[in-house]
Symmetry: C2
Subunit: 224 residues, 2 copies
């Protein structure tokens, strides 16, 4: 089935080089920096040459998402001998860590299809885990969707306030920035929100992420 291809001049690039360039630009300058023109410039071709490799910018960005999800080493992180809840937790924590390394890509994930090979692999592993836990296939599928919504939803809200360029600041700085942001809540109109400022500021932490994840797992097991 091996078809010969491209009889013309050797191609100067590869899909991978374009995805690399796009991801680098995304990491360095945020979503606005990853234009077709700047991607092309970085790999040293004219803007329209990109369309030899990808049909549109949207497909390039989809490829970037897939590349990031591919960086999640699905199997090595999760020790099959441990209890299933711990396995889910370490998978979720690892996924979150890997994705938050590319903050500008989070909106692309939440806003796009997420039905590529690596996304499916991730989902498949989660399903396996939940079936091992004794859930029916239907409940496992529902629960995995719930977990996906939580992991990606929390990342999206985490990233929402931050700057649109560069890597994610350290956790302490993000908490401080959030506290500043919510310190101005008028206590007379929103007494409970104002009183909870410190807790609200901590929503961007891994600790709060784990708290929510555990409540979610509690809910799933209570159901089973």
């Amino acid at each position: 089935m091996a078809r010969r291809r491209r009889p013309g001049p050797r191609r100067a690039l590869s899909e991978e080089m374009i995805l690399d360039a796009a991801l680098d630009l995304l990491d360095e300058g945020g979503s606005a920096a990853a234009s077709v023109r700047s991607i092309a410039a970085r790999v040293g071709v004219a803007p329209n040459a990109v369309y030899t490799y990808f049909p549109s910018k949207a497909v390039v960005l989809q490829g970037v998402v897939e590349r990031i999800l591919g960086e999640v080493e699905h199997d090595t992180v999760v020790d099959a001998a441990r209890p299933w809840r711990e396995r889910v937790e370490s998978l979720a924590l690892h996924l979150r860590e890997r994705v938050l390394a590319h903050p500008a890509a989070v909106p692309l994930m939440v806003g796009g299809p997420m039905d590529g090979r690596n996304a499916l692999t991730l989902n498949e592993q989660l399903l396996e885990l939940l079936c091992d836990a004794g859930l029916t296939p239907t409940d496992a599928a529902r629960a995995s969707y719930l977990l996906v919504v939580y992991v990606f939803g929390s990342m999206a809200l985490n990233v929402a306030h931050g700057p649109d360029s560069g890597p994610l600041p350290p956790e302490a700085d993000r908490v401080a920035a959030r506290r500043d942001r919510f310190a101005a809540i008028p206590a007379e109109s929103f007494p409970r929100s104002a009183a909870a400022t410190d807790t609200i500021a901590s929503f961007v932490t891994t600790e709060q992420f784990l708290w929510g994840l555990r409540r979610l797992l509690d809910g799933i097991t209570a159901q089973a």
Copy 2:
């Protein structure tokens, strides 16, 4: 403290008119249709006249988000006499229904600050509800964040696959579209995902939303 303003010619517009135009365009043509230029055209002024009312496009879109969140009639939906779980459920369902009426606005909410007056009002009401349920202020704040992540996260993933224009199709059509999309999963590589196609297709339904919400409430009460 009433300060006199604008000694020049009477302003032809108001902030509200601009927000109306922006929301209409968003609803009719998706996020790409709500450009500063098209907003200006709809209200009958030159593009740069918009900058007399708002400092930037981002602030206009923030205003649109606030307007939508203001459409949620916080109090009337939730009967204070009912058990707190039911009150949370009806608040979440109502919020979801109101927001999904404007699919193109969902990414704006998940991607932006969400710290306006109406967003705070919503959060305050949720906090009150959870405190009534017996949670400590800290746990109530954490739980409300968990609920917000879930409600907005699930909407974002729901809207992600759909077309970028017009109102959200009826639920049955969205399920069918999703089934088509995931019917192509190769069963040899992803056996569990392929077997769960029907369940996966149903993720966009209100029923599945409620299922997840209830697991979440189970987890929160198990903690308390």
